[in-house]
Symmetry: D2
Subunit: 373 residues, 4 copies
């Protein structure tokens, strides 16, 4: 496959993360052509130029449509705020580019549906930026489940907690506006849902409880404003194969920084994982004598693919940014027409449908069967 | 206060635990008269005699009513299987004895109500055997909450998991019969509820999902029998003061042995606890510089009352049986008319009402307001 | 065997611990006659009386020789400060009593030798109070080593750390006087040595470095006094079978409360243990696939004898005081002429000889072969 | 500063790691010119070409001297096996290039001395590849020590353990030959020494015990060959300021994968760190109430510089390869004449002198004062 020409829109948290991935993917994996970093777009022209120089892009623009029109660009990374995803991704797909879009697809479900429609009619690859599923630990857990290492799974719990909204004295900002979405459900629940999909398939039915730890927050210039969405979400779930589950998300959870804690229980064992210690997982099985059974803390290592592409020694540790490099490698595989471990717009839409169903189940105080509506 | 005369009915897991508590309470605390171990009842006469000798009781009987009639007995420990609690406790109360009854009160709510009525009309002390609330770690957490160490609590999660029902090949036994109760809700949920009560007050509303990891189990003599209750319970809760919560219980959770994991989130910090490491808890607060904030793992120590009564050195560790000694000390305080940290029949009944409400919320697929019924 | 008559000298930290053990041993184990608590001695007559009542002893005295003369006393627990051990233990042995003496035997090696001589000529059982070796976790580790679970052991590290001397502003007290002993070596090293003996046999050769974190300490009434011994000891060791080892002890180690951390490396695996989490240990073996190898955290459980005598459920946890109950059961076994897992005066003396050799190796700056030197 | 021209010699484990660092340093830090990847050398010509393409280098060669002669190359990364370091680094320095050399400098101390001499006479920057000191956790620990967060340090322990030599059935290979060096001392001790230097300064005096877990190993074609060096090293140390220390290294430690465990004790607290969980450290201080003191587990975060250059969110985790990017940034600072946190050839030589002193202290069975010789 010839080298792909890359366009990157956005240079914030995720923009930089994509830039690093495009810079590293060939050096890390060695089995793909080194991408050509062609075009970078950023609203501020000066910032666009300096970031292009830092990130190694050949050209810079403050007009993202110019990037999409660039014939040397084959793939567009969309890393702008959520409300811009639909417009940019659709334009890119219509221009015949492959798209790598940060999650979620769009605040409004109808926009997300239009994105999927655009992807389908374009025939191009359209993949979401769900990086946590790429962790070698998670991919190994998936293979352990496949081979029955813990028997038949019957119960799962997943928690995602951070504390960036935990301070009640922090001024009101847009993330507490209803217009920004449901709160923890949008910000967080999609990540656990991506992991659940990866391990079990899509959630079937839900009932959620949303909670608001702080009724209002101070305004910068005095006074207070009511919080309009919910920092805490707790959800009972039914998953494929009769698996029962609980999903919990809290963006006001003091002490939690990047927690995504997973507990998977099966008929022959169980598995634990926490993103805050992303280079390890815990496995309990009923193999061997009962007197030596216990959770084994397994450090990721070259056996856990594709850890070996980064480091040949076990227990040395990947970082958060490395997950995006793996995701990038999967995207390139998809573009080459190979099987890829990635969440495309089709599955991305289903994840967002689950989130909307959770919100509705809370409003209506009842279980919602997601595919029934 | 003069030495109390003790009667003990039952010599199994909890019977032995009570016996040890009665043997130790005076030596450990030093501020109560050493109880006189008067009478022990056990269905098998020979066993009754040998256990009386081992445990230090003066008399033994295979007829528990004789124990209740013994004028030297002031307090009766009821540690028999759940279905006998009501009859024995009521008889003891009617005979003017104080009662220390293992939880739960009774499988049928009406029986539990009769127990409370008997306690009320007797004027005697009637206390349930909820030992986990006695852990110095839990009691210190309670005092931290009281003094606002983590600000205003807004969210709580509690999980209780063990694996004694996790083996799908284990033969069907009575715990899978509907007659034995709801399953995990009865076996486990009462414990987390005791902790929640201790820290926050009684749960107000619930919606539960119950799950059955194994549809049937093998019979000893061939064939299989359908499982009639649920090993897994997941419950959304509303607690006093607008606190949202999740309670999870699983008695088929491979790898878990005595887990009761608590997460308490507040406006200024959070607290974690796990019964499997009962001699420590974790505290995160927003005090001090952000760059050094993290969960402090605090080992219980003489500062955490009444740890000091057992060991004068920090970090040396209490055991499960020691909690019953503390509970025993609280019972003696209650009998002496002092304030006691214990769950009496009144609060015990409310806990069991919560359990029944959970089961009903599952059957009806809706939230139940517990006090509304 | 008929019920033993018990005499207890001392009612402090260890006195209470022995009292609890004598109260519990029969109820816990069920296979020994309940001891008769005959006589308690304590320097203060009033305290002696009140403690006797609390602990359940029939008689009290402020003259320990009267206790030793009591014909109903069969066994004497010696729990007084170290400098009294020799006189009391020897008197008890000469009076034909069995002796259970808290460690160490005596500050002066010659006194310890006299204690052993007295034990030998008496023909009575004389056992030291090394409780940590009684932990079911440690006993199970011993059996794992015996069966070769981690192959041939080649390296061991053991650390014992607490922080009761860590505060440089705490006033000078007797533990910093040379007359009280070497410091960390006396206070702590004997415990790791008891574990090493239990697992591997006695240390053969050593070289130590002793360190003094604080040159002097404040006096109560102003001024400062030079510290005369060493709070920190670091020792290189050679153990039987070519095992190399390191022993570290620090009684000024801020943050450590009751740490005794053990690392045992063998040709097929390794084992970790820490007394601060005394109800678990960690096992790594090369069995099975490399991709699932990791340290298993094993919670103690009824498989790990004699945990089952205390609690029938796994993972519920023993406490520090429970270890003394097990030790008491071993003492009773020894008195009955059965094999016992205990450190008698013979092995106790060899442990203290090791400590003296460590101190000498530091003074002379060279390796000391313990049995040669 | 203009963009540096980079030459890379070697494309193995560390060669790839350097390549990633050179690719990332500008995108991550944003404050340095993006380096030009000019020339790559690798013994095999074909491999050289393909790696150059993957890593983004403009030219490739199988003759490293050609790379050193390349006028566009400003800095040479030396990542070949240890025995080639001296020749390559000296040639590069003599050609006026800056040098970034993987550790250790050279197997023979005289070669390392020649490297330092070459660096001095060249006036160029010559830095060793000690990456662990670059971890934001370690750098923050350094600043905590500087500000007295744990008072005056008095004791330190450091352990480095892996299990790549732990299998006794693995065939004999060059790492067991005396010609390859001392064993664990060479392979491992330099890393802990780099951390000790970073935190406290160079070790002053040592006495070591070296051990050989396996006397011989199987040969590929039958028979066995004696192991000629030592997989295990245990060292007592004296550090600047009267700090006592212990350094332990074991490359046959089953279960350990990338462990570098550090314990630092001071007069007001202590700090713990383990490279296997490189995104956290533990801090205990005596600040606040004793009843809430415990080790705080602090996840690295944007406060801990330069974590923020990689990820704006706390607790998301850096990886092993990211440390090399930070090291690269420090090298560029040094080249620009700014203060840099790096180990130059001068300090690198002193570290290797310490290792040779350890080996000698073992041979002679006595303490060695390193600077005295």
């Amino acid at each position: 496959m010839k080298a792909l020409g890359i366009g990157l829109i956005g240079t914030g948290y995720m923009g930089k993360c994509h830039a690093l991935a495009w810079n590293n993917v060939s050096a890390v994996f060695g089995d793909v052509e080194r991408p050509r970093l062609v075009h970078l777009a950023e609203a501020d022209a000066e910032l666009a130029s300096s970031r292009a120089r830092e990130f190694g892009f050949a050209r810079a623009t403050d007009n993202w449509r110019r990037l999409i029109d660039d014939p040397e660009v084959d793939v567009v990374s969309v890393t702008t705020p959520n409300q811009f995803h639909a417009e940019m991704a659709i334009a890119a797909l219509e221009a015949g580019k492959h798209v790598w879009c940060e999650k979620p697809m769009a605040p409004a479900f109808a926009d997300a549906e239009r994105m999927l429609a655009a992807a389908r009619s374009s025939g191009r690859v359209a993949v979401m930026g769900y990086n946590y599923i790429q962790n070698p630990a998670i991919r190994h857990i998936r293979s352990l489940l496949d081979e029955g290492a813990i028997g038949t799974v019957n119960h799962v719990r997943v928690e995602m907690d951070e504390d960036f909204m935990a301070d009640p004295d922090a001024p009101f900002y847009w993330k507490s506006e209803a217009a920004s979405g449901y709160g923890a459900l949008d910000d967080f629940a999609v990540h656990p849902l991506s992991l659940l999909w990866c391990l079990f398939g899509h959630v079937e039915a839900v009932i959620a409880e949303l909670a608001r730890p702080y009724a209002d927050r101070p305004l910068q210039d005095g006074g207070r404003r009511a919080v309009e969405n919910h920092d805490i979400a707790s959800v009972l779930m039914r998953l494929p194969g009769g698996v029962s589950g609980v999903l919990m998300a809290n963006r006001s959870a003091w002490g939690r920084k990047g927690r995504i804690a997973l507990q998977v229980y099966g008929s022959k064992g169980s598995i634990l994982y926490d993103q805050e210690r992303m280079n390890e997982f815990q496995l309990y099985t009923t193999a061997g004598r009962a007197s030596e059974q216990g959770y084994a803390t397994i450090l990721t290592a070259p056996h856990h693919k594709p850890y070996d592409r980064f480091i040949p020694a076990p227990g040395h540790g990947l970082g958060f940014n490395d997950l995006k490099v793996i995701e990038c490698r999967e995207l390139i595989a998809a573009i080459a027409g190979m099987a890829a471990h990635a969440i495309d717009f089709n599955h991305g839409l289903r994840i967002e449908k689950s989130v909307h169903a959770m919100a509705r189940s809370f409003r209506e105080g009842r279980w919602i069967d997601i595919d029934a509506g």
